[in-house]
């Protein structure tokens, strides 16, 4: 770890560790209970040459949802930006823009959020409507909510509609099958037939290559499943967020490893609304996923991007910590153990 003052220097107290373990234990005892997390997400750019001016766009503030309460969110940017602005983007996410106008050779952005996640009420997959009905309903959309769903049925820059993808998807979608049952089957197949392999892909690997190599990470699996669903005319959106990498029972271990920024998808069900599906873990998210933002694909919700003048080559390092905390706790963030890891996360 760098000894730069820009880094969050971390030391965890045994007492806090116990506090976190206690919170995790309490949550594990009652699977229906909401869980509160403190999420620390640090991104650091190191440039080989000075950057004279840079513009950045961040999607780091978790969304306020029926199943997700955002108690606090704080963004710490070093060096100090000349200008900042926060707005709601087309998809309803928070989009935070900032500009650095002084010469710098490193940028650190730390997002610190306190969020409570409640488990969603999940529909019985077998009793969801047949998938063709949903397809037709959305295609001829006029109602605002259906129009909103409709926009997630098309090709987007990161999700091309390839004939091979459609062929792959169809195996899970025999005529008349209930939508969510079919989606779960597809999720299961992707989980089983694609190998999790952080070395196989980068942020820029096209979907066609992922399909061919049958390897990738969460972002690739999410894009793949979205492409499958959209090629059948079904609405699917990309969700960017965090996931607790160990179960609540094993929280002690979780603190020792790095947690991760994560990606999964969301599928539209008429009346019931959107249901999240995690192809990387072959499950329906309940309380271990914190949602930041959604869009058509990664490009719409990239956690942090920038355009800079100068800079030469750069390296990025990302560290994420997701820690269960006592529910009433809204105190200032404590310094927590954190491990640097490369940007490609689970």
């Amino acid at each position: 770890m760098s000894d730069s003052p820009l880094h969050t220097v971390l030391a965890i107290q045994q007492q806090q560790r116990e506090e976190v373990a206690a919170a995790a234990k309490a949550a594990a005892a009652d699977p229906t209970a909401p869980v509160t997390y403190r999420v620390t997400h640090e991104t650091r750019y190191d440039y080989t040459q000075p950057v004279t001016i840079s513009h950045h766009l961040a999607h780091l503030r978790p969304r306020q949802l029926a199943t997700q309460q955002v108690h606090s969110h704080r963004l710490t940017i070093t060096p100090q930006p000349a200008t900042t602005a926060e707005r709601r983007d087309y998809f309803g996410n928070s989009a935070f823009t900032f500009t650095l106008e002084e010469t710098h050779d490193a940028l650190a952005v730390v997002a610190d959020s306190l969020v409570t996640v409640a488990p969603p009420r999940l529909p019985d997959p077998a009793r969801t409507p047949p998938w063709e009905g949903v397809r037709d309903l959305v295609r001829d959309a006029r109602r605002r909510d259906l129009l909103d769903a409709c926009q997630y049925t098309f090709e987007s820059p990161g999700v091309p509609l390839l004939p091979a993808v459609k062929a792959y998807a169809l195996a899970s979608f025999p005529a008349g099958r209930p939508l969510l049952a079919a989606v779960l089957d597809l999720t299961h197949r992707i989980h089983g037939e694609f190998k999790y392999d952080p070395t196989a892909t980068t942020v820029a690997t096209p979907l066609a290559d992922v399909l061919k190599a049958r390897r990738g990470v969460c972002q690739d699996f999410a894009h793949l499943q979205i492409a499958c669903l959209r090629s059948l005319g079904l609405p699917a959106r990309y969700v960017s967020g965090y996931v607790l990498t160990r179960s609540l029972d094993e929280i002690e271990k979780a603190l020792e490893g790095g947690d991760a920024s994560h990606a999964w998808i969301s599928v539209y069900l008429p009346d019931g609304g959107w249901v999240d599906v995690d192809p990387t873990n072959d499950k329906l998210p309940t309380r271990e996923h914190v949602t930041i933002a959604w869009g058509r694909d990664f490009g719409d919700v990239s956690p942090l991007k920038g355009v800079m003048m100068g800079g030469g080559a750069h390296t990025v390092s990302v560290g994420v910590t997701v820690a269960p905390v006592p529910r009433k706790d809204a105190a200032p963030p404590r310094q927590q153990q954190q491990q640097q890891q490369q940007q490609q996360t689970q």
């Binding site: 004279t52 606090s72 200008t83 001829d140 049925t153 098309f154």
Partner: protein, 864 residues
Amino acid sequence: MPMLDTTRRMGRDGQGVLPGFTHIGYGTSRGTYDEMVDETGAVRPHWQSFADALSQLSESEMRARWDRGQRLIRDNGVTYNVYGDPEGMDRPWQLDPLPLLVSSKEWAFLEAALKQRATLMSLILADLYGPQRLLTEGLLPPALVFGNPGFLRPLHGAQGQAGKQLQFYAADVARSPDGTWWVVGDRTEAPSGAGYALENRIIVSRVLPDFYRTANVQRLAGWFLKARDALIGLAPRNPDNPRVVVLTPGPYNETYFEHAYLARYMGLTLVEGEDLTVRENRVYLKTMEGLKPVEVILRRTDGSYCDPLDLRDDSTLGVPGLVGAVQAGTVAVANGLGSGLIETPAFMPFLPGLCRHLLGEELRLPGIASWWCGQDKERAYVLANLHRLAVRPAFTVQAPITDASRLSSAERAQLAARIEAAPYLWVAQEAVHLSSAPAWVEGRLETRAVTLRCHAVMTRDGPEIMPGGLCRTTAPGTLSLSMQHGGGSKDAWVLSDAPVSHVSLLRSRNAPAKTVRGSRDLPSRVADNTFWLGRYLERCEDTTRVLRAAMSRAVEGSAGGGDPELAVVLDLFAMLGHLPHDLDRREPAAQDEAVRLLITGNMDVANFVGLRGVIQNLQRVATVVRDRLSLDTWRSINRLGEGLAALRKPAAVSPDEMLGALNETIMILSALSGLCSENMTRGPGWRFMDVGRRLERGLHALDLLSALLSSPPDDVGPALDVVLDLSDSVMTYRARYLAAPQVVPVLDLLLVDETNPRSLGFQLARLMDHADALAPYLADRMFTPEQRIVMGLLTGARTLDPALVTLAEPKGGEVRLIDLVGTMRSGLWDFSETLTRQYFVHAAEVSEPISPFVELLAAKDRTS
């Protein structure tokens, strides 16, 4: 010989040639509407007087006139860049001298119909980037918007352009075989062609001035005046004197000529993305005098490329933060970002219904039959009729059209599979049968298929249509009408029943009350290129002069031994990197060889120190600052290399021929110097050009002095003669000294004498003036770094005693010439680098260190 006997009729089958004029006959083909003659072969009434006049013109007269026209095209540098064209950049503009005539009656119909269509398109965009009622009311399928990459989501609901997305609209109209007009394409992104239409008019009206005067042709200038007023009227603030810029993707764009042309014609500043910067949600132009706020952007860069932060992040053409500024409403962009959404032909089938809904009237101009495959019925029809349809990607207007009738059945099946995979991405159109018009092709009248691109600008009083437009031509039968894929153009004359009044944008008597800024800003990038223009101009002149000295001495050639002056010149070339160092240039054979190498080397465009290489660089930077150059300057620069290029194979060129071409080059360069010193206003543009020129000439003076060093110290006579000759100082020297040249007076004349425009001292004095004049543009320091550098050099030159300069080992108080030259040269290089850093690169100043952690966004605590 008359070209066309208008009293005769065409042959009855339409294939007839005019009796007696078999080589220039005009034949139309059955089933095609011809613009000039009707189906009986009779000339149409509105063409009658034009055809009469044409028939009075002999073929040779027409040829002579058109040669002048072609010359104008080359001189004016009208080009259309074609990506991947083997001819490379800047293919000359393809123009036919014969205009397309449109009668006043027909124009009245077209004008009204186009106004309606422009209004309709504007309303559709306003809705789709706003309330989207067209979707909730089911008038448009959502896929046309949400599946369309032209829908730029960050601009939905953007305050700054609400309801004003469409400022410029163009439609390609064509005539069906039954004579009615239809629209074959809509342009809403950043319509091009208006500038080309204007340039076509300028050229054709000069080739056919007599025709033009008598034909009551409606003028184009008035429309540009309205366009300029409309742009000014968009300014969100500073309404009296807003800064309006033209944003271009740069010289590699296919219509860059037009961007530069329009900027100059309308008096706007031409900028590239990197010239603009966004600070606190406001757009600024980086100029020599610092950042200047921009109120209006006439956009010629595709919307999705305009902001790498919010839109396509692979774009290098954009302005990071521009979307934020548009959202904040601090800048107006015309057309609005995202306006390309509706230019796909997939919208065409819906326009009649939308017109009834939005305007309560019938659509006056039909579009060509189009089927968007995103709908079941239409897709079924397309798949069943693929063999007779043209198919294209629905959302890429530039993509080539596939004529499915020409595909093999296997290829057609493949296409059908692609359509089935993502039907909404495809649109099919009926094959287009265009009308024909006469074109002048190598001395003959031939038919060409034509379409007309008509332009609309939205004004306070509604859309205004340019009376005329860019007529585009293809060989009969060709389907695609993009200039990208070949084809030519014509002027379009909209005829008026009454005489027309003359309006010119530049010298208008009823000039608009609001005028744009008198002096245009100088973007840093332009300043940089102007500086290099000056340097290359001077380098070109210096190289030409030294080459001329070599060639003239090679031609005269002293009998017997090698020419000692030629040896000096050749040494100079060796020093400048043109020749290998290891030749003994005093040997006649070696001199011949060296002269041959000089000719081939300087004729080689790829050799960057060679004359043609320098000319090429000069022309490259001139292209970039083209909107800042007068037409005469541009023409002269364009002609610079012609003399050399016209010579035969370099290996076969004699010194004598070379000399002729060099003399011609010197004449053009002298004309350019005259233009620069007499015709350029003394703004920062001129200043940077002159700085470049002075710097280069100063370096050249030092190079010449170095020639003295390569001669044996006891035999500098020939070198002194050459140096005086090359610095145009022979006369001066003789007038002053009436003796054979000697070292000390020559050094005085070339180093110190500030009255000699070729001396180093003169250049330094001018650079000092420039450095002083530039200083106030920057922060209020005592002296700028470049002031300090020049001051040091100038003082050095002024206090120099030439008598103390020695070519040999220095005695007490003496300074060696080689050291002096070295010091001055590195000083000039320092100056150049400092200037670049200060004015061109815009490196941000390093601010004071701040505390490492600054809390930015206070947490908004919400109760759980």
